[in-house]
Symmetry: C2
Subunit: 307 residues, 2 copies
């Protein structure tokens, strides 16, 4: 499928200027302190997205760590093993811990005392909601909508301003029949475009794939594009040539229904879909588009964000 994509406007502020305005280095690429002005934009975006929440949606917020068993079962380890961060800690009792500290103090390697825990760093905001919903019994006739959010982690150190290792993701998740989930995703493509319009950002929406691991993964990614299982709303942040995915619209078919034995009242596996907002990418996109001083952003944008 080839079609002409609309052109994207050039960012007003350079990545370097945006970085200096919003981030504070911490010594690790992709892990930064965040300025007060930047946080006010992230909070304003959260409020704006909350106003779009469906009346039937249930709010659940997740911490930045999640059950390793859950993430393994959900298929993340198989699909994205290169991106997964695992929580490890010193174990084996006080003597072994003391010995690791002694090695550290002697300037030796101490990390060989680390043992894997039952936790990983949450890789996406929606994973923990599927087993939680499944545990409640059959999905009701009208289906379910959840409003979830989490600090997420992906192990891909980079100096690119739009590729953080630790970032915030907000999602609306729809669980129900094929028709309910398809309708939800199509509606949200429209609503997301309207949201981007109000933010005054240049964008286009295009078929996309996830960064699956390995050669087989690359095939899965091509299939994902062919079947249009994923769309992204991309915005010029670093450049117009390599725009940044700031929102995504994902259809999982009945993958999570099968994985967590989540079924409708008729016994059929539930379908799921989610619309995801990259909160940090949207905030960075606003600074890149409108400049580093919020006071000089267009009045309509500041009004939409109540800033």
């Amino acid at each position: 499928m080839t079609h002409v994509l609309p052109g994207l406007a050039k960012p007003a502020a350079s990545p370097e200027a945006v970085f200096d305005a919003v981030f504070r280095p911490t010594g690790v690429d992709g892990v930064y302190g965040r300025s007060g002005a930047y946080e006010s934009v992230v909070e304003a975006l959260a409020v704006m997205i909350s106003r779009e929440r469906d009346a039937m949606a249930e709010v659940v917020r997740f911490p930045p760590v999640a059950s390793r068993a859950l993430i393994e079962k959900a298929g993340y380890l198989k699909s994205f093993p290169h991106l997964l961060g695992c929580v490890c800690a010193l174990g084996g009792g006080n003597q072994r811990i003391a010995s690791a500290v002694a090695r550290f103090e002697a300037g030796e390697t101490w990390t060989d005392g680390l043992e894997p825990s039952d936790l990983v760093l949450t890789p996406a905001a929606c994973y923990p909601i599927y087993p939680m919903a499944a545990a409640r019994g059959p999905v009701p006739r009208d289906g379910l909508i959840f409003d979830v959010a989490s600090d997420c982690f992906r192990r891909e150190p980079s100096r690119d301003i739009d590729r953080l290792q630790s970032f915030r993701m907000r999602e609306y998740v729809r669980i129900g029949t094929l028709e309910q989930t398809t309708t939800f995703r199509e509606e949200w493509r429209e609503r997301a475009a309207a949201l981007a319009d109000r933010l005054g950002i240049s964008y286009r929406i295009e078929a996309a794939s996830d960064p699956f691991f390995g050669r087989v993964g690359a095939m899965v990614g091509r299939y994902q594009v062919e079947q249009q299982l994923k769309y992204e709303l991309v915005v010029p942040v670093r450049s117009t040539e390599t725009p940044t995915a700031c929102m995504s619209f994902n259809y999982h078919r009945d993958h999570f229904g099968q994985t967590f034995d989540m079924r409708g009242e008729d016994g059929a596996f539930a379908h799921t879909t989610c619309v995801a907002f990259g909160m940090d990418r949207l905030a960075v996109a606003l600074f890149a588009t409108h400049g580093t001083e919020i006071a000089k952003w267009p009045a309509a944008v500041r009004s939409a964000l109540n800033l």
Copy 2:
């Protein structure tokens, strides 16, 4: 030093009732989803604390991961090795990663492929601010105040409702002379008490120690109490007998000044102090004190929180 401590009022709601109202199990003790009502209280507390922010304070927010080298240098590994969570990831190139995934799919152990990264889970909100401040050159005559916050992690799985592995911490950090830091801490003890009064929670403020590791650590803790380096504002959450520390007032003397070579204009090492708000513990304390339905909380408390 023995003195009579004021009595504490009995919590209105049981830990079990609070748990059901605010948390959603995820399969791991101390790691829970959070209800919308609970999050609205956490957000309201954040706004209330922001109103207490000094005009000269600079806002910086940190992600839930931090540089391992920084946390090692700050002394955390030596003092609290048993609580530190390290970020590990599969490494060694695509073949080794693929082999770990193959072991996982065969039902074997795959975590032996994990390698330590340069990141740990942030153990307290203020650590990253000290090297950041030190990098700016001599501490100005009036000193510095920072408003910092972070999702924090401590590896101590527990079913106690007031002991999460992943929790949110907000801090005001004062950097300056001995006198500036002492004054700040004393003033904040008063202001924190006034804040607790407005929240309608029962509390007392008492000398306290951190959970230092090992036998030597226990001595450090006793010294900390003797020297009154740490106070805590404790609130009955699970019971009146074992109240929960919801805020703390910490004086580090010139530990961080020496560690990060942070000096005043006169060349003397800077002193630092911080007041820390356990956002999740304060929110849980409110539900335990006033009951599980926000609508039924005392009008004065709801008004103070704008809820």
